[in-house]
């Protein structure tokens, strides 16, 4: 599903972020990317949906070389990748329903199907009752659920979550990870970057550890540390 071949990334200011990364992630896998802040986890994610291009090497998503896509093709790549942010990035003046619907509307989805799909997504994340609330009326956990609903409403085969529990307390964090696990079981490839040790240790999933821009460990059923 996702392949990184000898990928390096140097930002224009000369800082090396990723160095010679090789990574293979199969269909419907659940993978934790772990490592200290600044290790390059976020950059790795950005390469997948082409917010960044690799300086060298290949990033292949669903058999397509992402760096080769034209500007016109990039939106169609992104419709296959749902993205969850640490800071949620919900639009403040729109309700939960509108935020989720927004993701469908901007892809030109027919109106008739939007309501049904949004309701399904909200039900999956347990936010149906909060559909008409505005983001600033929500708790952190609720915001993250709304953000996840927006990421999956389009039924993308891949879901990326960049530090999804970074701003949440331990109980809520665990609920959010359970939700991502549930989505993974509905045939979605899920990649979660985190430095939340207890979650990684409890989930016992594949762990890819990055330090100083290098993959230092890639372990099935791993923990946060070796």
């Amino acid at each position: 599903m996702i392949q990184l071949i000898n990928v390096s990334k140097t930002y224009p200011n000369g800082i090396d972020v990723l160095y010679n990364i090789n990574l293979n992630i199969g269909k419907e896998e659940f993978v934790f990317i772990v490592g200290p802040s600044g290790a390059g986890k976020t950059t790795l994610m950005k390469l997948l949906y082409r917010e960044e291009r690799p300086s060298s090497g290949k990033v292949i998503v669903d058999k397509v070389d992402v760096a080769e896509l034209t500007v016109d093709q990039v939106p169609y790549l992104r419709r296959n990748i749902g993205i969850v942010f640490q800071d949620y990035k919900l639009l403040p003046k729109r309700t939960v329903f509108e935020n989720v619907a927004f993701a469908l509307r901007v892809t030109g989805a027919p109106r008739s199907s939007i309501r049904r799909k949004v309701m399904q997504a909200l039900e999956l994340v347990g936010m149906l009752r909060r559909a008409n609330a505005f983001p600033d009326e929500l708790s952190g956990g609720e915001k993250q659920r709304a953000c996840i609903a927006r990421a999956i409403v389009n039924n993308p085969p891949i879901l990326l979550a960049d530090e999804p529990t970074g701003n949440l307390d331990p109980t809520t964090s665990w609920d959010i990870i359970q939700l991502l696990d549930k989505i993974n079981k509905r045939n979605t490839t899920v990649i979660v970057s985190t430095h939340n040790k207890s979650i990684v240790d409890d989930m016992k999933r594949r762990v890819v550890a990055i330090e100083n821009g290098r993959v230092v460990r890639d372990q099935m059923l791993g923990g946060y540390n070796v």
């Binding site: 992104r78 990035k89 892809t107």
Partner: protein, 295 residues
């Protein structure tokens, strides 16, 4: 597509309301520019009209001091009318001229009491085909022995013409400069409304919106700003010009001011169309720039 259009319009109105101050600034800028542009157009049209009016009544008046007989007058008339470029020659005898003068002004001035003798000369009114020929023909006529004096309003016409020329060139340069300045201001103003919605744009792009999809609401917003600016400019220009027409026609009734018709309609519609175009172009440029800077 219909549901998309609705989305674009709703998004445009949302942004329009949210950036109230920016919107007002952008509208104001467009209005001011267009009013300047409109004043310039009206100036050129009116100057052209005055020149046209004066030149269409372009005659050379040739005076004869000595007493001449009707036959002599006829001969001179024939001779003058044979000059190339001359369309028509009329002869007004001193007696006719005096009679007409008394009819026109006699009652008011009681001129007959002041002046007993007829002081007016015989006059030939020479109508010329085109205004360009005026100086040349006037010169030829003045050399005829019977003619004592020649008058025409050529100098005034020449001055008016060069004035119109200056206004046209200067005005065109002014309008180009002001248009660029406006475009710059509109681009930057709309850019602020675009930047205010950067998160929206980021999210739109992350969930797979195409660039065009992101652009349309802003372009609609720009068109809206442009139309409002254009209509305001039209209203301001119309009200001001109507009062100018009123003032001029009561204070300077002989000045041929353009008070209506096709050309005014065109100038007024140019306001609205140019406003729309400015708003649309400004929005397009600014949103394209921001999109290029995004990923």
């Amino acid at each position: 597509m219909f549901s998309n259009l609705e989305f674009f319009i709703v998004e445009a109105l949302r942004s329009f309301r949210r950036g109230a101050l920016m919107t007002v600034v952008a509208i104001g800028t467009i209005t001011v520019t267009l009013v300047i542009f409109g004043v310039f157009l009206l100036l050129v049209v009116n100057l052209g009209n005055i020149v046209g009016n004066v030149s269409s009544g372009l005659d050379i008046a040739a005076y004869v001091d000595e007493p001449i007989s009707l036959e002599q007058a006829g001969a001179i008339q024939l001779e003058l009318s044979k000059l190339s470029g001359v369309e028509k020659v009329d002869f007004i005898s001193r007696a006719e001229a005096w009679k007409k003068f008394q009819e026109d002004f006699g009652e008011k001035l009681e001129i007959g009491e002041v002046i007993q003798d007829n002081p007016l000369p015989h006059t030939f009114i020479i109508k010329v085909r085109t205004p360009d020929l005026l100086p040349k023909i006037a010169q030829i006529v003045s050399q005829k022995s019977a003619i004592s004096e020649v008058r025409y309003s050529g100098k005034l016409i020449d001055q008016m013409r060069s004035l119109v020329g200056v206004v046209r060139v200067g005005g065109t340069i002014l309008v180009i400069l002001v248009t660029f300045a406006t475009l710059l201001i509109v681009v930057n103003t709309i850019r602020l409304t675009v930047l205010a919605r950067e998160t929206d744009i980021y999210i739109m792009k992350l969930v797979g919106a195409t660039n065009n999809f992101v652009k349309y609401p802003f372009i609609i917003e720009g068109v809206l700003i442009g139309i409002i600016g254009g209509v305001l400019a039209f209203i301001i220009l119309k009200i001001s010009y109507d009062s100018v027409i009123f003032q001029v026609s009561s204070a300077l009734p002989f000045l041929p001011i353009v008070a209506g018709g096709f050309i005014l309609g065109i100038i007024y519609s140019v306001m609205v169309f140019a406003g729309t175009a400015l708003g649309m172009l400004g929005a397009y440029i600014s949103v394209s720039r921001v999109l290029k800077a995004e990923f």
